[in-house]
């Protein structure tokens, strides 16, 4: 009992004598204490009961004092991926950098990292340092395959794998993962890689219409009528198959193809041939007959004239084609 009263009297001294048994009672960790609204006289006595107006059972828990930030104990050669292994919001006590962010006050600097909301709001890449990326990629390397070394140029790829299928994937945040545009499939290939003869090629071009580009000789089929990408891909391959086989077929009414339907100009049986024949026959004044016509056709000047006219009609007018036509006409009419 005497001991008990002695202890009580010592403790009630409070601030006056802090060193009991060589231990600093009031501030055992030698940290700066903050002035609070509470009276410091009974701070040691009422350690378990801070005066908050008795709001409930939970304020009976003693408030732990915040320790040193982790940055004080970080060695320079530490393993950083252990501090930030995954994407985490910015923790100012874990990042040993003197980062400042925010709009500065007048004649001031951006605010420091302690209690800075701007640093927490922005996504940080602290978990993706180059070292961490290298470690991740080392773990992922066994799942990758190598590109076949024989297909190093674009030309070789096009020769062996001429059909190109294009589709898009979308990643975004929202209430739903799905994006309806992901079902669209584009199929592209060059008609030169298909086994088509002259008639089949022309028929194929007529069948697809807008989907064929003459300059690059590319057929592009776009399918989006099915809800699933696999279905659209199957439909595109089906369309390609049907087009191919249909273009090889010869219908009875295709024989009624007129000159207006022809894709390119052919000189035989054209008004140009008839005109030049009649002109030459009249110039020759050597008599008419099939033999004379055929002999005229065989002549090199007539061949040149035919080439120049065909070129003009198919390729359009240009400097060189006009010159070629002029020379051919001069030779033919002996000007």
């Amino acid at each position: 009992m005497a001991v008990h009263t002695l202890k009580k009297s010592i403790l009630s001294l409070g601030r006056i004598d802090c060193h009991i048994y060589g231990v600093n009672v009031r501030n055992p960790l030698n940290r700066a204490t903050y002035a609070t609204a509470l009276s410091t006289n009974n701070s040691s006595q009422n350690k378990g009961f801070p005066d908050r107006g008795n709001r409930g059972p939970f304020n009976r828990r003693s408030r732990r004092e915040a320790g040193d930030p982790r940055t004080d104990r970080m060695p320079v050669d530490q393993d950083w991926p252990t501090v930030y292994p995954t994407a985490t919001p910015f923790r100012q006590g874990s990042v040993p950098l003197p980062v400042r962010m925010g709009f500065p006050v007048k004649k001031g600097v951006p605010p420091e990292k302690k209690g800075n909301l701007e640093l927490i709001k922005i996504p940080n890449f602290l978990h993706l340092t180059p070292l961490a990326i290298k470690k991740h990629c080392e773990a992922l390397k066994p799942f990758c395959t190598e590109w076949p070394s024989a297909l190093d140029t674009g030309a070789k790829c096009d020769e062996h794998f001429p059909v190109k299928v294009e589709s898009k994937d979308y990643v975004s945040a929202g209430t739903s993962l799905r994006n309806p545009s992901a079902r669209i499939v584009h199929l592209r290939l060059k008609l030169s890689c298909l086994n088509l003869d002259d008639h089949a090629r022309k028929k194929m071009v007529k069948l697809v219409g807008e989907r064929y580009c003459k300059d690059t000789d590319t057929l592009a089929i776009t399918t989006d009528s099915c809800p699933v990408r696999q279905q659209n891909y199957d439909y595109a391959m089906y369309l390609l198959t049907v087009l191919y086989h249909e273009s090889w077929k010869m219908e009875a009414w295709e024989s009624e193809k007129t000159v207006a339907d022809m894709e390119e100009y052919s000189w035989e049986d054209s008004p140009s041939q008839k005109n030049i024949m009649s002109t030459l026959v009249r110039m020759q004044v050597a008599g008419e007959g099939e033999a004379v016509r055929e002999e005229l056709l065989g002549r090199p000047e007539v061949q040149e004239y035919r080439d120049s006219v065909t070129r003009l009609k198919n390729e359009g007018e240009s400097e060189s084609s006009m010159h070629q036509y002029r020379d051919a006409v001069k030779k033919l009419l002996n000007l």
Binding site: P85, K141, L151, F161, N195, K257
Partner: protein, 242 residues
């Protein structure tokens, strides 16, 4: 002291099982791997992990083969184009650095890396709830883009790279991936299925056509009448005799 050592070894093997079996829980496995690099930390720290690991199965002391090789041929991608969109250019800069380094480490050939021009959407609204038409407020939404093109990637590599990239996509950034795959010409298109050699279309050979036409009509059975009708509608216009 033997017991903690044994547990430690088993935990390490279990970590490898995670790496192989569940490719989807990549982050979890990376976390496990990260914990393994502790080095000098006590073995008591990894002891926290088995509490979660124990649910999935038994420990196996032998290393399983974590990579599964299937027989189906790998798809070949001529080009994989990754377009990222975001409101903050600095975030996209950091993400580009990350994506390029990841591509280099995984051995993926990079094509172009460029920045398409930003897109600003502006709207003008009334400042006040009621009247004051002359006083408005203007808002704008800026979308910055970054495009990373990979050329000549195999399907497995593309899958691994894209999954890694997408799992580390920051908040507020969207991605659009365009894949162009290369394929061979399908076998059923190599040869036409009609046995007749195709005849020429010149009018001087009409006799030949008239002879061969009935044969073709026999062969074109009912399923073909659909496309034939379509061809009649869209085909060459029927003009007068040439």
């Amino acid at each position: 002291m033997a017991a903690p050592v044994v547990i430690g070894r088993n935990i390490r093997t279990f970590g490898r099982i995670f790496v192989g079996v569940s490719q989807s829980s990549l982050q979890g496995s990376i976390g496990l791997n990260a914990c393994r690099y502790h080095g000098r930390s006590t073995l008591f720290r990894p002891l926290q992990l088995p509490a979660a690991c124990l649910h999935t199965g038994t420990f196996s002391s032998s290393l399983p083969s974590s990579v599964i090789v299937t027989e189906e041929p790998d798809t070949l991608y001529q080009k994989v184009s990754v377009l990222v969109k975001g409101h903050d250019k600095a975030v996209l800069d950091s993400y580009e650095f990350f994506a390029i380094l990841a591509a280099k480490e995984l051995g993926v050939t990079l094509g172009k890396v460029f920045e398409p021009p930003k897109n600003i959407e502006r709207l003008t609204l009334l400042k006040s709830v009621h009247i004051f038409k002359k006083h408005r407020v203007q808002y704008e939404m800026r979308t910055h883009y970054r495009c990373i093109e990979l050329s000549r990637v195999t399907g497995s590599t593309a899958q691994v790279y894209l999954e890694y990239i997408q799992r580390n996509l920051p908040e507020g950034v969207a991605m659009e991936v365009t894949k162009t795959s290369m394929e061979k010409v399908p076998e059923h298109i190599l040869e036409p299925m009609w046995n007749d050699p195709p005849t020429e279309e010149k009018p001087s050979h009409i006799h030949k056509l008239l002879i061969s036409a009935p044969n073709q009509d026999d062969r074109t059975s009912s399923p073909e009448t659909g496309p034939e009708n379509m061809l009649v509608d869209n085909g060459q216009p029927e003009q007068g005799a040439a």
